[in-house]
């Protein structure tokens, strides 16, 4: 049998079970309406849950992006100080972050999709519930056993199918949200534990510390040079060479000045 037919039969079987349960068909109407209102509430909560999750992921993505930008500027700073090793380290860490960001962004898009679907589902259900309420009152008012039974069956099966559909949609959205929350929790933990923070944002991380050391050393050199009336700082050039590698003495002074300019 075709897939389409099998699926609709399964839905029909569900709806019929609900009808069989009640003794007075009119009770089915009220019971079903009650269920619909409950489901409408659930869908509203579901939409809110997904939205909360989505916003949390957005915040995390922004946080990671800031850290990644910081690593980029650290790499630039390191290059301007002739420290390719530091620049390489910063870029390596950045590529790790980029992978995380891409991962989160993909899941964020998925959540957004679920949120949109669920919002539409809510609107559909809302419209159906309102029209069910009207129909329910009409059926009750014109109650004659045989006729009413048919109309009740129609209404309840019709709405039952919609409820089954929306129930499924909610389940899927819930699953995805939970998945996402678990993931967001793990990233939060990473950030809180300092694992990401230490790599990037904290001023005490080793890249920042080394860059700071370099630039404060250069500041001292530059200021000394200024005090001595632009003459090259002979006495301390040895110490500086230890830090800035193979750079010549005159070059070091130029470096120091350009760094100072950058910092202003």
């Amino acid at each position: 049998m075709s897939l389409m037919k099998r699926m609709s039969m399964i839905f029909k079987a569900k709806a019929n079970k609900a009808l069989d349960r009640a003794e007075d068909p009119r009770e089915v109407l009220d019971y079903s309406y009650q269920k619909q209102l409950e489901m409408l509430q659930q869908v509203r909560r579901g939409v809110a849950d997904v939205a909360t999750s989505r916003k949390r992921v957005e915040l995390q993505i922004n946080q990671l992006k800031q850290q990644s930008d910081k690593l980029t500027s650290q790499a630039q700073q390191a290059i301007s100080m002739n420290r390719e090793d530091l620049a390489r380290e910063a870029l390596t860490r950045k590529s790790g972050l980029t992978a995380q960001i891409n991962d989160l962004s993909a899941q964020h898009a998925q959540l957004q999709g679920e949120e949109e679907k669920l919002t539409l589902a809510q609107q559909r259900l809302q419209a159906k519930v309102e029209s069910f309420r009207t129909r329910k009152e009409t059926i009750k008012a014109t109650y004659t056993a045989a006729e009413a039974q048919t109309r009740i069956n129609e209404a309840v099966s019709g709405i039952g199918e919609e409820m089954g559909d929306i129930g499924l949609a909610m389940q899927r959205a819930e699953d995805k949200t939970q998945e996402m929350q678990a993931r967001a929790g793990a990233v939060d933990e990473l950030i809180n534990s300092g694992a990401l923070e230490d790599l990037t944002a904290s001023p005490s991380d080793d890249i920042s510390r080394q860059l700071e050391q370099l630039s404060s050393q250069n500041d001292v050199e530059a200021e000394l040079a200024a005090l001595k009336g632009q003459s090259a700082p002979q006495a301390i050039s040895g110490a500086q060479q230890g830090q800035s590698g193979q750079a010549g003495q005159a070059e070091s002074v130029v470096d120091a000045q350009s760094v100072e300019k950058e910092q202003q």
Partner: protein, 92 residues
């Protein structure tokens, strides 16, 4: 005839389009039977597109049972297989 795409809503589809949809449905069915995830995704997308193209959206406040029901566009093969084998997947 009314066709529901799960997660999307109902469409009114002319009976004349049914032969074509049955062909597409057979392809989905075959992919499910074969357990071929890629063929399934492609065939399902075609079938749903067929319904959307051939049909017009059923009024949203109408309460009518569908004649046929189809899985959601992003349903996985496992999900559909489970839906067909157990009633448990459909809540309510």
């Amino acid at each position: 005839m009314i066709v529901r795409i799960l997660g999307e809503g109902q469409y009114d589809v002319a009976d004349s389009a049914l032969d074509r949809l049955n062909e597409l449905d057979a392809a989905v069915e075959a992919a499910v039977a074969a357990g071929d995830e890629r063929a399934f995704a492609a065939a399902l997308a075609q079938l749903l597109d067929g319904v959307r193209t051939a049909g017009v959206p059923h009024p949203v406040d109408a309460i009518d049972e569908s004649d046929l029901i189809l899985p959601a566009a992003d349903a996985s093969l496992a999900e559909v297989a489970e839906m067909l084998s157990e009633e448990g997947l459909i809540p309510g």
